[in-house]
Symmetry: C2
Subunit: 192 residues, 2 copies
DNA sequence: GATATTCTGAAACAAATGTTTCAGAATTGT
DNA sequence: ACAATTCTGAAACATTTGTTTCAGAATATC
């Protein structure tokens, strides 16, 4: 009976996510967003909602992408240890070559304390990240690829929280070698 | 020949720091600040400057306090290892009992990427933190309190970046046991 | 093609933002 | 007490903020 939405919502969310990711929630204005999304604010409010709802969608989108990556890696036929080591190396590359820090980390510090719904999305994301590491560590232990004298749950927790500090270090020092050396030590701890 | 400044600048900076610390830079308005500082914006602009300059002073103040703490601990007569272990335990307590995350960490992610002067203050702070850890680790190694088969510079870098992830973890999960277990593992790695 | 419905664009909205103004109060050294 | 100078308070400033309005363009169904 009526007209359809003209703009591509998925593409618009992607664009908005990029802006939020780069500038953070509070430093991003609605003009910044509508400019990047190439839609009018009336369209935004008619479909997605206000700034907060848009941000939720963007954080959700960001964590969805990560989930896909973890799922893909977990379904690999290769050894758990090599999947883990590859993942660590790629995480380092993202830190070193990425334009911005992890959006989940930035959002945790900037908005999660004040916005329960953002926090919930990030908690779910963090649990998936934890589960990913835990699965691989457990599998590698069971197959004797790594030493199993440590609780895999503890190791997963510990390693899961480690990346965050590497992002901070790279913001401050922009020193790729520093990150790489920490990653090597990290892997050495695992494998020894 | 003329009137003196009426308000206590140090106390005002302290108050402003608390607001910035809690809300972050962008979410803090000048009204928030002048309310907390109990001064008029004209006085603020006459003495300290604009919002950015005030923030710089606050971050500087925050890192000054940390420096004092490190200096005090370094001058302790006790063994390097026990100073280090105590410090870790107290860091955990601050994470668990503190009202907010570390202001240096929050600021690194929110503003350091866009404000070079803030970044410089945080870099200096990070270097002091690194030096503190490095000194203790080196001393503990030299006295045979901990195993010395690892480069103290690497360990200091690695441990220095570790706290940040604990803050994020605590924001998301509010789980004191999780942090404590990671800290114990951390200490165990050091001492073994 | 008519019609009913929905979307879009531009403008307008009030409120909040960071900052400035300035008259008058306050305090210093003389 | 004087005079010169500086600080303070309240109000005003122009922008920018997030959000809403609404007339008209667009389209899916009949």
């Amino acid at each position: 009976m009526a007209r359809n939405v003209e703009f591509n919502e998925a593409a618009a969310i992607q664009k908005a996510m990029e802006v939020f990711w780069k500038k953070g929630y509070n430093a991003t204005s609605l003009r910044d967003l509508t400019d990047a999304m190439q839609i009018n604010s009336s369209s935004l409010y008619n479909t997605i909602g206000d700034k907060q709802q848009l941000f939720l969608r963007c954080v959700q989108h960001y964590t969805d992408i990560r989930k896909q990556d973890w799922d893909k890696r977990l379904s690999s036929k290769r050894s758990a240890l090599s999947v883990l080591v590859d993942y660590i190396h790629e995480a380092v590359n993202i830190i070193i070559n990425g334009e911005d820090s992890c959006m989940a980390v930035k959002s945790a510090f900037e908005v999660a304390t004040n916005d329960e719904r953002v926090k919930q999305i990030l908690v779910a994301d963090d649990q998936r990240s934890y589960q990913f590491l835990h699965d691989l560590i457990k599998k590698a232990m069971d197959k004797g690829e790594i030493c199993n004298d440590e609780d895999p749950a503890l190791l997963a927790d510990y390693f899961n929280s480690t990346w965050t500090g590497w992002y901070e270090s790279y913001i401050l020092h922009k020193d790729p070698v520093k990150i790489k050396r920490m990653a090597e030590y990290f892997i050495k701890q695992l494998t020894k």
